[in-house]
């Protein structure tokens, strides 16, 4: 069947066998179409502008008077409304949709000649006297196997076991959701705490930095002063003794001690003077206030 798209967007189909019968989707006249689509009827008129899946499956790619782009898009673009298709494949009525199922595998239950083992006999192997085998017999032969259907379900003891197992290993959904929520909350809490401590520590940082810098600066200053003092003492010693004295020698140390004493005396004098000054300054004011 050849498919042709007219410029206005409607489609027409031509049967290969009878080229004279040209039909559009509105009305299908050709009898050959019955051979190709046995479920179609010649009088059947599908809804406007419908292209069925079956049609598409059988359609050849021979499209006349149409560019190759359009041909490709015909088969591939299904949702496009540019070809004035308003309804789509899946919205077709059930009579037109063809479903092709795989045939089911034959069961081969062998119901005419069933093998049902003799329970009392010694010759039947042990495994054919178990409950599991009985269940399988029932499954295969049904009521004809002579097995009591009650045996299919777990016994009371086994049922208890199963329920205990379920209680232990399979908590209900609510429980599980609760556990998840708890874990999530734990995680959040830990995260928030950590962030809080971080924020607090960061808030302290500027002060700590300033303190540290000050400390360093002071230490440096002190070191500088020490060095300078040492230099001064050395110079003084040089003057006094006339030669470069080693700072570790006894002479130098004695000299340093002397200088220290003198300085102490000076400081004490200064202090005493200051005190006297203060006293003199206070008493006149006291006198004046009186």
């Amino acid at each position: 069947m050849r498919c042709c798209v007219l410029p206005d967007g409607h489609m027409t189909f031509t049967c290969f066998k009878c080229t004279e019968s040209i039909f559009s989707l509105q009305r299908i006249h050709c009898k050959h179409l019955n051979e190709v689509f046995p479920k179609w009827h010649t009088s059947y008129a599908p809804a406007e502008g419908v292209m069925t899946s079956a049609l598409r499956a059988y359609m050849t790619l021979e499209v006349t008077g149409v560019s190759s782009n359009m041909a490709a898009s015909l088969l591939s673009r299904r949702t496009a409304s540019s070809f004035s298709f308003t309804k789509l494949n899946s919205l077709l009525p059930a009579a037109v949709i063809q479903i092709a199922n795989y045939n089911p595998r034959p069961l081969r239950l062998n119901l005419k000649d069933p093998y049902i083992p003799d329970k009392e006999s010694e010759r039947t192997p042990e495994w054919q006297k178990t409950e599991k085998f009985e269940r399988r017999l029932f499954g295969r032969y049904g009521r004809a196997s002579g097995v009591n259907p009650v045996k299919l379900w777990p016994s009371a003891a086994r049922l208890e076991e199963l329920m205990a197992e379920e209680r232990e290993w399979h908590p209900p959904v609510e429980q599980m959701l609760q556990n998840i929520a708890e874990r999530q909350m734990e995680k959040e809490k830990r995260r928030i705490e950590r962030e809080k401590t971080i924020a607090e520590s960061m808030a302290k940082m500027p002060k700590l930095i300033a303190d540290w810098k000050k400390q360093k600066r002071e230490a440096k200053q002190k070191a500088n002063e020490e060095k300078q003092k040492q230099v001064r003492l050395l110079a003084m010693a040089r003057e006094r003794f006339g030669f470069a004295v080693d700072p570790r020698s006894v002479k130098f140390k004695e000299m340093v001690a002397e200088i220290e004493k003198e300085e102490k005396k000076q400081r004490k004098l200064l202090k005493r003077q200051k005190k006297e000054e203060e006293q003199t300054s206070i008493t006149p004011t006291a006198d004046s206030s009186q």
Partner: protein, 296 residues
């Protein structure tokens, strides 16, 4: 004369006066050709040609890369860590593209007028699932989202956002649900399960790892709140720029709205029932305890 500038100028004159090009006149650019390495020539390169003296080395029989003479090699001694740890126990979800689904529907292997389940997909030979190889179901992949145009009631185990949008845009319904490995084996091969006469078991709920996925409305989880799913549908439509068709006015509305009970493996078959293929009958238990166990 010299005012008119000819293109090429003197070059053209020179070229015109040169002899014709022959093989004798041509030569490759320096560095274009390198001489091939020829083994076994010369006093030092010959004799064994750089292959050594006897043994595996000369006879090209060395063991594989990484072999350490029998000692457990480094690449096996070091355990896998992080992403690759327990890789063989990770759940796997073989993909099902929308393109393949459309193909199956078009060929009639899958019936869109009934709910599409993993059973239907396997019956139509659309996917191949191996529960024994840690497959936990099928995931819907968005390849072919632009050509997908079927209205389906789909149930998969995982789906990408774009795939959900593609299904809902066409007026379909998609749900993600969980099947534990035993239930999955029963789901994909029901008849071999019914043959030994076992009662249908309860479908277990997902573990704490997967529960957040299946309670999320954005994934259309089967344990999610239906109202949230409705809002999620609308949000998705806004995100991808389509309008949701109103399925309540659809002829197939009842089919589209059908969803499985979270504890059921099959539509319409409760846990605890025994399906007998020989008599073509379903046997239901009457004992209270049994009913309580299977009904919870």
């Amino acid at each position: 004369m010299s005012l008119i500038k000819k293109p090429g100028g003197k070059t053209i004159e020179v070229v015109k006066n040169l002899p014709r090009i022959t093989l004798a006149n041509l030569r490759p650019n320096p560095g274009a050709k390198t001489l091939e390495k020829r083994r076994g020539r010369g006093m030092h390169g010959g004799n064994r040609s750089g292959w050594g003296h006897k043994g595996e080395r000369q006879r090209c029989n060395r063991p594989r890369l990484g072999f350490e003479g029998g000692q457990t090699p480094f690449y096996l001694v070091i355990p896998k860590y992080g992403y690759n740890a327990n890789h063989s126990r990770q759940p796997q979800y073989p993909p099902l593209s929308l393109r393949r689904l459309q193909y199956l529907i078009d060929l009639g292997r899958i019936d869109p007028s009934q709910p599409i389940d993993l059973t239907q997909l396997v019956n139509g030979r659309g996917v191949e699932i191996q529960p024994q190889k840690r497959d936990y179901g099928v995931q819907l992949v968005d390849e072919g989202a632009d050509i997908f145009c079927a209205k389906v009631n789909l149930e998969v185990q995982a789906a990408s956002e774009k795939a959900i949008a593609a299904v809902e845009r066409n007026g379909g319904v998609i749900t993600t649900s969980y099947y534990d490995p035993r239930s999955l084996q029963i789901l994909i091969k029901p008849v071999p399960f019914f043959m030994p006469g076992e009662p249908i078991p309860k479908r277990l709920f997902p573990g704490e790892d997967l529960l957040p996925y299946y309670t999320d409305a954005n994934n259309r989880g089967y344990l999610a709140d239906p109202d949230k799913i409705q809002t999620a549908r609308m949000d998705l439509a806004k995100k991808y720029g389509y309008s949701i068709p109103d399925i309540s006015k659809d002829t197939l509305f009842e089919m589209l709205v059908q969803r499985k009970n979270p504890r059921h493996i099959f539509f319409g078959l409760s846990p605890g029932w025994v399906v007998n293929m020989a008599d073509k009958k379903i046997l239901k238990p009457t004992d209270d305890k049994v009913l309580q166990y299977y009904g919870s």
